[in-house]
Amino acid sequence: MNHAAIVARLRAYDPGAILDEREFRGQLSVTVRPESILGVMQFLRDDVELGYQFLENLCAVDYLGREPRFEVVYHLLSFTRRHRLCIKVGLPEQSPAVDSLTGIWPTANYQEREAYDLFGITFVGHPSLERIMMPDDWQGHPLRKDVPLGGEEVAFTFNQARIDARKPYARD
């Protein structure tokens, strides 16, 4: 089954779901409407012809200055057909939210928590959407592109005294 046939089969299932399809260096990536992600994924997993049983990877990307700003990327693997498929979902800057895939693949649980922790994307229907990497009292989402990069100003001889005065030294 070649890439055109995969897209055709997906279109036959839900004609309005596919927004875009690209092929780059032999890998097929399909952009899907966020509202229909749950049905599309269920179809990709359960369809006999396609059979993408395994969610390899779930991650998020921040394209600052572009609309939709965020993108959630799913990499699927079909063991039977030895084929990989990339599914993308674009999400708006204001309150990005998409349906959780934990009902289809339990492995999505931790990866969605990671995307929530670092990018602030809400996964609707997730059983426990909490921070997984940063401390619980952390403010903001550190992998967003508008978060400052450095933790502290780099000290040289001319600014060391100023930094030192501001630094919170611990006491006994």
């Binding site: 990497m133 940063m134 401390p135 952390w138 550190p142 978060v147 990069l149 450095g150 933790g151 502290e152 780099v154 000290a155 630094k167 919170p168 030294y169 611990a170 006491r171 006994d172």
Partner: protein, 166 residues
């Protein structure tokens, strides 16, 4: 060797209490069994046969903070780990000392970002900083010798005797 000759047949050595206390503290200073990153490998290396930290009475790493005198912060401290480090430090019994081993523990090192504490001295007070990425065992041993020199200068009330500069 020299002690018997000095003491003669009396079997008595006279000294100040301060010296005896500092002598015993510095010669059986047990580190906490605690490594955070790659610096811990060098710390283990300095304790193994080639460098042999037991020459300084430090061959025994205690797995319990209650029994440890010295915390060697070997590696970068992430913001999530910082409360744990502070808690371990608080659980150690007085007197206690801290060596910040390596650039990451001393100032954040190359990790100038949101996740890493920029120097463990933001979390716990540090006595000796050892530079290096990671420091060789010789450097760590030098830091420990420096710390021993500091302990020898301690007064009984805990303050540090400043060295006399001529």
């Amino acid at each position: 060797m020299g002690l018997e000759q000095k003491a003669g047949d009396l079997g008595i050595v006279t000294t100040s209490l301060e010296t005896v206390v500092n002598w015993s503290r510095s010669n059986a200073m047990w580190p906490l069994l605690f490594g955070l990153a790659c610096c811990a490998i060098e710390m283990m290396g300095s304790q193994s046969a080639n460098y042999d930290l037991s020459r300084f009475g430090m061959e025994i790493n205690r797995a319990s903070p209650r029994q440890a005198d010295l915390m060697i912060v070997a590696g970068r401290v992430s913001r999530k780990m910082a409360p744990v480090v502070r808690r371990l430090y608080d659980q150690m019994s007085d007197p206690k000392w801290v060596i910040a081993m390596g650039d990451c523990a001393a100032c954040g090192g190359v990790f100038n970002n949101y996740a890493i504490v920029q120097g463990v001295d933001e979390v716990i007070p540090v006595d000796v900083y050892v530079a290096g990425c990671p420091p060789r065992p010789e450097a760590l041993i030098d830091g420990i010798v420096q710390l021993h020199a500091k302990v020898h200068r301690m007064k009984l009330d805990g303050s540090i005797r400043q060295p006399v500069r001529v």
